[in-house]
Amino acid sequence: MREITLSKAVNEAIAEEMRRDPSVFLIGEDVAEAGTPFKVLSGLVEEFGTDRIIDTPISEPGFMGLAVGAAMTGSRPIVDLMFGDFLFLVMDQLCNQAAKAHYMSGGKLKVPLVLRTNLGATRRSAAQHSQSLHALVAHIPGLKVALPSSAYEAKGLLKTAIRDDNPVVIFEDKLMYQEKAPVPEEEYLIPFGKAEVLRPGRDITIVATSSMVQVAQKAAVLLERDGIAAEIIDPRTIVPLDMETILASVRRTGRAMVVDEGHQSFGVTAEIASRIAERAFYHLDAPVQRIGAMDVPVPFSPVLEDMTVPTPESVAERGRLTVRGELFHAA
């Protein structure tokens, strides 16, 4: 199978959906000729014109709001939010307007829009360009949240997002834009709410999202050297969340660990861990472990920044302690 970058995969998804459906358009800052700072959208304006690849002023709440109104009236906008950190600027339009319109109107209004943005630290971009804020939007009923972990998933999930009748927030890992992965030439979609078992294992289940999937995979290789077989599950969407696949795995392995790049407190790791504890407690041989980003603003200095995110080594170490029953000593 051919290999393409995540960036190219996103570009293809948008182009295919825009060819298929004339009501789809894309709006954001420097999305047309510039093709975004990450060059993800290069070439789209040549095919679709500035009428469908719309450059905006630097007005995030403004164009987010426009997208909500356009979505209510027959369009299917894709909003390009340059950095996930700028979510804080669009919160009212996203969470008070887009997320609630269908419910508040008793099902009369629909808001089929996609908010594309990104997450991920270690680009040495400091605290306002490095956050992973997906838990923030996953908290709000009415928003679906997709977290692709590869070029393959990025394309398939984005296409599904564009066709979904609900507001969907999709986070791309900005460190992965130039990473290649096998992506079929033929069209495919990835359904929401279906987790993927990326690696089978009998000793411990590692649920990992987005950027943390590769970290978990590397950790699994380290664990294998110690004779520990880790099973890796990528939920792919956290709203909806496929707990059945996760629970089935945990019931087999008896141990679970959740790894996510959002801040550890009150986030994705807490949510998934508590659901496992609620529904698979009697199958557990060890407390559910979770590893998120440290609860600090992301520091600039590489030495400090690298300490704040989960690494293959930290994940493997925690896995080892969990499987060997040595967590107590670590505490």
């Binding site: 909500v68 109104g69 209510m72 369009s75 109107s105």
Partner: protein, 329 residues
């Protein structure tokens, strides 16, 4: 036939619609005072000429966005009393199945994209609806209603900038009723409001919001120009709210004098003054106007009675419509 006679039907429709709003609000206020309505609500009484003068020139396909003080816009855009009262009372047959309430009434069937409990929250939505219309080659125009207080929200300036850059068919209708909550407009708005729109190259107008004919004439011109691609526009409509900020705002002399209220009500009432004009022009007799008032009163009474007896939503509704395709358990 002269122009006035030709327009008689439209004039009487505007009169009736203004009366319908006033009567709707009087009934809503009563429902609150008699503790039959859950929550609070914001009365549109006094501002009727704004919503009616503008909505009279809109087609059903044209869109509006509304505010927390939204009953007037909703009625003017063609909504039915029954579904509105049901919504205010949280009943299943309300426009939003009882899930929205007074501050979120949306009536998609008549192009009302919804009231909004976030001050200024619908400015992006209105502008986006206009973008949608333009992109998809539709002729509809969107009117964005908001108050003087909402002009303090930055969103307005972001979206007016884009609307002007992209020549979108949207009209920003600023209802200046002199107060944002318990604060006089002069204390929250520096400079001139129309001048703010003009800074973006948007043609801006000021009109007496108590004069339904003046509002209507201006709206007719601007909506027609919007349809030809000459938008966006900004209108400041000077008006007055008769009640408190919300129905519970009873003792309000600390921010607004009784004399001031009395003056607007006796001298400037949009319905009374328009009724007098209709009679003076021979377009309707006082008896004919009185019979419109009576019909509307009966319509409202029946709708309130219906809504009070109407069933609440079934419990199974609570998890529906969070998403279009999933039920939340």
């Amino acid at each position: 036939m002269n122009a006035r006679k030709t327009n008689a039907e439209a004039y009487l429709r505007m009169y009736r619609q203004m009366v319908r709003i006033r009567v709707f609000e009087d009934n809503a206020n009563q429902l609150y005072l008699s503790a039959k309505m859950p929550g609070l609500t914001h009365m549109y009484s006094g501002q009727e000429a704004v919503a009616v003068g503008i909505c009279e020139v809109l087609t059903r396909d044209d869109k509006i966005t509304s505010t927390h003080r939204g009953h007037g816009h909703c009625v003017a855009k063609g909504a039915e009393f029954k579904e509105m009262f049901c919504e205010l009372l949280g009943r299943a047959e309300g426009y939003c199945g009882g899930k929205g309430g007074s501050m979120h009434i949306a009536d998609q069937s008549n192009g009302n994209l919804g009231a909004n409990a976030i001050v200024g929250g619908s400015m992006g939505i209105a502008t986006g609806a206009a973008l949608s219309a333009k992109r998809l080659g539709r002729k509809d125009v969107t009117v964005c209603f908001f108050g003087d207080g909402a002009t303090a929200q930055g969103l307005l300036y972001e979206v007016m900038n884009m609307a002007a850059l992209w020549k979108l068919p949207v009209i920003y209708a600023c209802e200046n009723n002199g107060y944002s909550e318990y604060t006089k407009t002069a204390e929250i708005a520096a400079g001139s409001l129309p001048a703010r729109a003009e800074a973006f190259g948007i043609e801006a107008f000021k009109v007496d919001g108590q004069d339904v004919l003046a509002v209507n004439k201006l709206a007719e011109r601007l909506v027609a120009r919007c349809r030809k691609g000459e938008g966006p526009f900004f209108i400041q409509l000077d008006t007055y709210r008769y009640h408190g900020h919300h129905v519970g705002d009873i003792n309000r002399e600390y921010y607004r004098s009784k004399d001031e209220e009395a003056l607007w009500k006796t001298e400037r009432d949009p319905i009374v003054n328009f009724g007098r004009w209709l009679a003076a022009e021979g377009l309707a007799t006082p008896e004919e106007l009185a019979s419109i008032d009576a019909e509307v009163g009966a319509e409202a009474g029946a709708a309130v009675a219906y809504a009070l007896a109407a069933p609440f939503p079934d419990a199974s509704q609570v998890g529906r419509h969070v998403f279009t395709d999933m039920i939340v358990a």
